[in-house]
Symmetry: C2
Subunit: 407 residues, 2 copies
Amino acid sequence: MLIVQKFGGSSVANKERILNVANRIVEEYKKGNDVVVVLSAQGDTTDLLIEKALDINPKPSKRELDMLLSTGEQQSVALMSMAIHKLGYPSVSLNANQVKIESSGIYGNARIKNIATSRIKLELEKRNIVIITGFQGINNFGDITTLGRGGSDTTAVALAASLNAQLCEIYTDVDGIYTADPRIIKNACKLEEISYDEMLELASLGAKVLHNRSVELAKKYNVKLVVRSSLTVAKGTLVREESKVEKMLVSGLALDKDVSRITVVGIKDMPGMAFKVFSLLAKENIVADIIIQSVGSMRLKDISFTIKRTDLENTLYILEKNKDFLGHDSVNYDSSVVKLSVVGAGIASNPSIAAKMFEALYDVGTNIRMISTSEIKISVLIDAGDSERAAQSVHDKLMEENINLNL
Amino acid sequence: MLIVQKFGGSSVANKERILNVANRIVEEYKKGNDVVVVLSAQGDTTDLLIEKALDINPKPSKRELDMLLSTGEQQSVALMSMAIHKLGYPSVSLNANQVKIESSGIYGNARIKNIATSRIKLELEKRNIVIITGFQGINNFGDITTLGRGGSDTTAVALAASLNAQLCEIYTDVDGIYTADPRIIKNACKLEEISYDEMLELASLGAKVLHNRSVELAKKYNVKLVVRSSLTVAKGTLVREESKVEKMLVSGLALDKDVSRITVVGIKDMPGMAFKVFSLLAKENIVADIIIQSVGSMRLKDISFTIKRTDLENTLYILEKNKDFLGHDSVNYDSSVVKLSVVGAGIASNPSIAAKMFEALYDVGTNIRMISTSEIKISVLIDAGDSERAAQSVHDKLMEENINLNL
């Protein structure tokens, strides 16, 4: 069996953890499996390197930053290979250039385009454990590009897909996917399984366990993913194609604090206005999420939407600059809001879930600012001050519901 | 004009020094020159990485160590490029793989086999300052190999040769080549010029300013080398082909403390015995330096030679293991010795230099254990306790001589 294992930065932060991980890798190898390992940079190495760069140049070129940051993963893989040798097992470390992980040309946020498998297969045939740098690729110019934060998950899934691995294990500092963030919701519980689609919604809604792009890739190539802890032997959560038999109503709850609400007031009530607004934002890579349009009165209407909080300044600037073009009266915004979402394959077929969610919010006196729904998701925008109380109330109410139906 | 500039680890040890070096680089660029820069890892980065490796595995694989250590230079070049951008000038950093610096397959002590120039030339045409990682190459397997300590000098000279650079400047923490180590000999003075051959003798005899291999390369490809300080604007020392006009008698004095004397006692006085001894050592990469054979008596003779002190244990082991084969009586050795050498193009044509050297040693009561001479060198083995006094006496005597003749 061929297994791809990915370990994050905290799992290889120091000598003891490196040796601990080396032991886990060797355990799989001793069972007769082929093992390919993907590593991130140690602990806060990436942050320290960024700090060093900013100290020299507050606006470092993204190309040079990628050149600098990619050294972190290369150090991890070399040290891990030495640790495996210490345990008496054969291994070899490879960087993105040695494997040939081809990426798009965008520095700092590249995408993997292709992975050559010949060098890896050669090393596996020699019965080597193969340790590969996560987070990086080589573009058409032969330059190093990083995949953006959390990109090592994507490297692992892309490798699993390219090598037709039977399993891709993502080791992290939590022991699986929970119904909600256990640091906020005390009775959050671990899921045994979750579908790709549900995981995607959770990932994009602020559950930071898996990098979004990695789940997309896993779904596209049907890679069997397991999320588990490098510190315990707990079983973890399996992410896979939706199981038809036991469709859970709600699999999780996510709270996204990185959000601002914007309202464009008094825009003309005629076709193409929404297109105009959102194409201006799209050009600057600003993604509008929940969008609501008020019913027009006196040939004018309001358009409200949410964006990432970091995009606020830029969005306000774009709307101001294009005021004549769009012809709106004014713009107002609110950054003291959060987005609370429930995700579950059973949502579309069970309207009572939305009702239960709204009831739970009413129970704790939370006012709903905006609502957005999809086949497997209900999101509401609420005041930031209400977020934890509201999340706990919704979680409790839906847990009850789930438990009732699972009996 | 195309200039290659090399800066060592201490020249880029921190932010201030990086910005200082960036300024020097830009100065050359502003004159309209094409500038290619070679950097070592910052300060004690390499030592810290080795420490980290040894902590995980006391006998790390050389391949993995090269993978680890090569990150040090990659960080240097990325940071330097950011510093140059900060000053408002265009630059790009390249690692050994991006340039394609091809090396032999020997990890930890590789040789440069070839350097492709197309990527560098492309970047120079764009008027970029090109910053290249020293100390490393890529072997036939696509793996990273380091060139051994001081290898960045070799990278710089090899680049200058490949690119037909008009000048190769080696920046270091001393401001040139001295007639002796200024930390030991108070009145040592800086040389304006020195020939490749003299520099080679000095480098291999313990003057640690330039890496031996880099001088060999410079001689082979007739690269004009200048050694100067990155901290001052002093002119430095020019290393070039021997000037026929002003042949200096003695250009320098070197003290090599990394030496042991070995005597193989009572070996048969017949042809081939020296060959047997030294081919056994050569197989283990042990270089014997001064070799003396006593006149045979009763069909037996003694062979004495010097080796690097680090090779002592291994040499004694080899001689013991082959005692039956070589048929010697015993082996004795002495590690409390040093090798003192004078180097100069005028030595062969002026026998009085050797006489003056021996007189200077006699003046301070130093006993000479072994003597070895070449066209441009006289080396003597003396007791370690005598070394500084002896060096000062020889330096003073020969300085006098030189000054007299230069008048």
